[in-house]
């Protein structure tokens, strides 16, 4: 079922889709075994330039939808 992979097949998937996942999601393990990656979060936050505009949107809209949410980052 190799046929419809996101990156492999469709070049028009916006980079933001990939960044949104690879930098922000996926398994995170912490502890002595792993080299510190705290900076990765900072890159993502910077990339999103997130804080004001999204919060404004959610206020405008009267809050986020009801559903399982990611923890705040």
């Amino acid at each position: 079922m190799a046929s419809h992979n996101v990156i492999a097949e469709s070049k028009d998937v916006a980079l933001v889709e990939v960044l949104d996942r690879v930098l922000d999601k996926g398994v995170v393990i912490s502890g002595d075994l792993v080299i510190s990656v705290a900076e990765v979060d900072l890159v993502y936050v910077g990339l999103k330039a997130l804080i004001s505009s999204v919060e404004t949107m959610e206020r405008l809209r009267g809050g986020p939808f009801v559903g399982p949410m990611q923890e705040p980052t």
């Binding site: 990156i7 916006a14 690879v22 502890g31 792993v34 080299i35 990656v37 890159v43 997130l50 505009s53």
Partner: protein
Amino acid sequence: MEQGKELLYLYCVTGKAPDLPKGRDWFDKPFFIQHQGLYAVVSRVPGSEFNEENLKKNLGDLEWVKLHVIMHEQVIEAVMDHACVVPFKFATLFNSEDTLKAMLTEHAPMLKETLQRLQGQEEWGVKIYCDMARLRTWLAQDEEILKIDGGIGSASPGKAFILKKKKEALLNLATTAKLNEYGQASFNQLRDLCSQARINKLLPKEVTEKKEDMILNAAFLISKNAIKPFLETVDRLKARHENDGLAFDCTGPWPPYNFCNWPERTAAHG
């Protein structure tokens, strides 16, 4: 000398010997390390790019980040063609095979449980965008608002000002209500076809580079035999809302980044 020390970069973990991607210029060909019935897909990467100090520098370079994020994604996509994967976050690095194996030992039960849960499932993403101007134009055809419009024409300047304010407030309220209705209804319909669903933060226009506003950013974990009805539902929603100024971006299958539910990431509200 620290600079040159090689590190192990972990992409993902599988439960069976993975097929590895070929024919690209990875740092070093991805290979796997087998331990406790798990297979860690890794590359050897140079400390000159990935040790703590140099990684921090490179993370400030958007071109470097883009290139490596895409490589990360491509390796995992190649592996997930033939095996269920637990994808790790970008730049998960280990000093040696020993520390990587120690991690696998420590997390083996959780990894195996996750692999079992994700078996036969795919992650898809749906983002909904709204052309606010178009939606507001349409909502301005509401009877009550048209009545106010009529009043504005014949009112004194002071009265007209107040009526305009009132119209604006009504329109804002109606827009909010519509967005909630559309977003929630769409999410609910799609969620009903999935094993798991979650709503992620909205991304601002600076990031999406679209002129429309993002009104829903959701991820779905779907059983492979439910993909077809899921995509058909997305198409129906697209068609239904075409004239409301809504656009649906549906992408997948992705590695299940949103559904690994590791302890550190499950302290969610909701």
